[in-house]
């Protein structure tokens, strides 16, 4: 009974988070096109609904009803599996993201943390672990399509994702050193009390370099412009999902956006204080609305996440695609040394000036 109830609550939480994420993805698909359009003095989608706001639904319907083509000679099993493998890890990662303040509420006689599905003590490693699985979807999708473009895209992507994942991991280490925990909840809590405590600028050693490395690497890891080599339209038609259509294509698409959201959430939690407001406490608290103070925190979190998401679009609108060797060289010869140096300096600083 107890277990069943707990399970039910967890499932409800999961459903809620998934709902939010899916909703965000929907919003993002539209937002991206709109923002890109505006930056390029265009309008973006305007037809479906007023000012095109219903465009995501139309797209979704279209993809849902589109014929699902499996190319001749493709490996059917893997071809079907790959999109799922791409999507699931992206969604699983949200389990440890704290969307709001650490608090517990009584629900059916159980302690429930409403803003995090599971506060496990290796949260950040968990995210890294599942982020690394995302590569399988891409590489298998590329391989199973029985198409040269897809294969090349898949291979490129695998190399790129692994290379940049390393930098992501190393960039995070500095934060872990400062916070002394792998749990995202604890890391976020460690940054409470004003923006000067955010790890991006926190003493003893501001993680600004790590932040930059993290952002750049996460852009690369999510295969976004200017690192969208795996799906470079002009070179590889569309990379690993050239041959995909319909819902399978949609899965890849959702996975990419979910990944964007995930890395944005992590970036917000690690470097920008998560749900903490840039000032001590919350305004709602000051004016005596402690009961709904969490709303302010959640809004702050959402704001930070959306800032990062906006950054993705912004970069896409601005930068041209890198050449592949440049991409790799940049990852290994620029990002990696910076991340390593950051770790060394942070470690020294943390040793002499423990927080």
């Amino acid at each position: 009974m107890e277990i069943g109830l707990r399970l039910a609550v967890s499932l409800a939480q999961i459903a809620a988070v998934m709902g939010v994420v899916m909703l965000t993805v929907m919003v993002l698909t539209l937002a991206e096109r709109k923002v890109l359009g505006w930056m390029q003095d265009r309008m973006g989608p305007m037809e479906v609904g007023p000012y095109g706001v219903l465009q995501p639904i139309a797209d979704g319907l279209k993809l849902f009803f589109k014929e699902d083509i499996i190319p001749a000679g493709a490996n059917k099993f893997l071809f079907t599996l790959a999109p799922i493998l791409a999507l699931v890890p992206a969604l699983i990662g949200f389990a440890v993201i704290p969307f709001g303040p650490t608090m517990t509420i009584e629900l059916f006689g159980m302690q429930v943390k409403p803003f995090v599905i599971s506060d496990i003590n290796i949260g950040i490693l968990y995210i890294l672990a599942f982020a690394s699985i995302g590569a399988y979807g891409i590489i298998l999708g590329g391989w199973s399509s029985n198409s040269k473009y897809s294969l090349l895209g898949g291979l490129r992507s695998a190399a790129q994702v692994i290379s940049y994942e390393l930098n992501v991991g190393l960039a995070i280490v500095g934060v872990i050193l400062l916070s002394g925990s792998l749990s995202l909840v604890k890391i976020t809590e460690a940054q409470a009390g004003g923006f000067w405590n955010w790890f991006i600028i926190a003493m003893p050693f501001p993680q600004i370099f790590a932040f930059v490395v993290y952002v750049i690497s996460s852009v690369a890891e999510t295969n976004r412009v200017p690192f969208d080599l795996p799906e470079a339209e002009s070179e590889l038609v569309a990379g690993f999902f050239t041959e995909y259509s319909g819902m399978r294509f949609a899965f890849f698409f959702i996975a990419e956006y979910a990944n964007m959201i995930l890395v944005s959430c992590v970036a917000a939690a690690l470097f920008l204080g998560g749900w903490n407001a840039p000032y001590p406490g919350t305004i709602l608290e000051y004016i005596g609305l402690e009961r709904i103070a969490w709303m302010e925190n959640v809004v702050w979190f959402a704001a930070k996440v959306y800032f990062f998401l906006f950054l993705f679009f912004w970069l896409r609108a601005t930068l041209p695609r890198l050449r592949y060797d440049q991409l790799m060289r940049f990852g290994w010869k620029v990002m990696l040394p910076i991340a390593l140096g950051n770790i060394v300096l942070t470690a020294i600083a943390a040793y002499f000036f423990p927080r």
Binding site: V35, G37, W38, M39, D41, L315, T318, L319
Partner: protein, 191 residues
């Protein structure tokens, strides 16, 4: 930027260059540019089906066969347009008007508009001004065979696009029409 500096293959990077690299200066410049556009959002998009651009005066659109004001076709079936067309759009089958041995007309007249490039050479070539270019451009069809136009269709376009027709010269003998039209500076027959 003078030529001398650009000709130099590699300049030793100065401190400023390093600083620029380290702070992603160029990148930020680019991003500022895009952000500026976002903030000063002035779309140049035309919502086409809803609003349309003004066409220029000499716009060359769909071709049409014309008639005189009395409703007779201008075309005399001379095949000159067919000869002039670089894309072989036009096919003309000419014949004599029954009972009038010297008078010719186009028995059939076809235009394959999928091939037409709207150069206007046929219009220039026509001795009797039987061809004209309209300002129609929305000719999307579901079946491209629909773009294979026959004489009736072309005449219909002409009727639609040229409501005002040229007056037929009554005094003109059909046999000298050629001269009348082409050499307008010559003394015309009296009306």
């Amino acid at each position: 930027m003078n030529v001398a500096t650009t000709a130099q293959p590699k300049r030793k990077p100065s401190l400023g260059d390093w600083l620029k690299t380290l702070t992603f200066y160029e990148l930020l410049v680019g991003m500022k540019a895009t952000l500026t556009h976002l903030l000063n959002y002035k779309p140049i998009t035309l919502q086409y089906p809803h609003e349309k651009r003004l066409l220029p005066d000499n716009y060359r659109g769909m071709l049409a066969l014309l008639r005189y004001d009395d409703g007779t076709e201008k075309c005399v079936g001379c095949d000159l347009c067919e000869a002039a067309c670089p894309s072989r759009v036009i096919r003309v089958v000419s014949g004599e008007v029954p009972g009038e041995p010297t008078k010719r007309y186009s028995k059939e007249y076809y235009m394959d508009m999928t091939r037409c490039l709207f150069c206007g050479l046929c219009v220039d070539a026509c001795p009797v001004d039987a061809l004209g270019m309209t300002r129609e451009f929305e000719w999307a069809v579901y079946d491209k065979r629909q773009l294979h136009l026959n004489k009736q269709q072309l005449l219909a376009i002409g009727d639609r696009a040229y409501p005002v027709r040229e007056k037929r010269l009554e005094l003109q003998h059909p046999n000298v029409a050629f001269f009348n039209v082409t050499f307008k500076h010559l003394p015309q027959k009296e009306n």
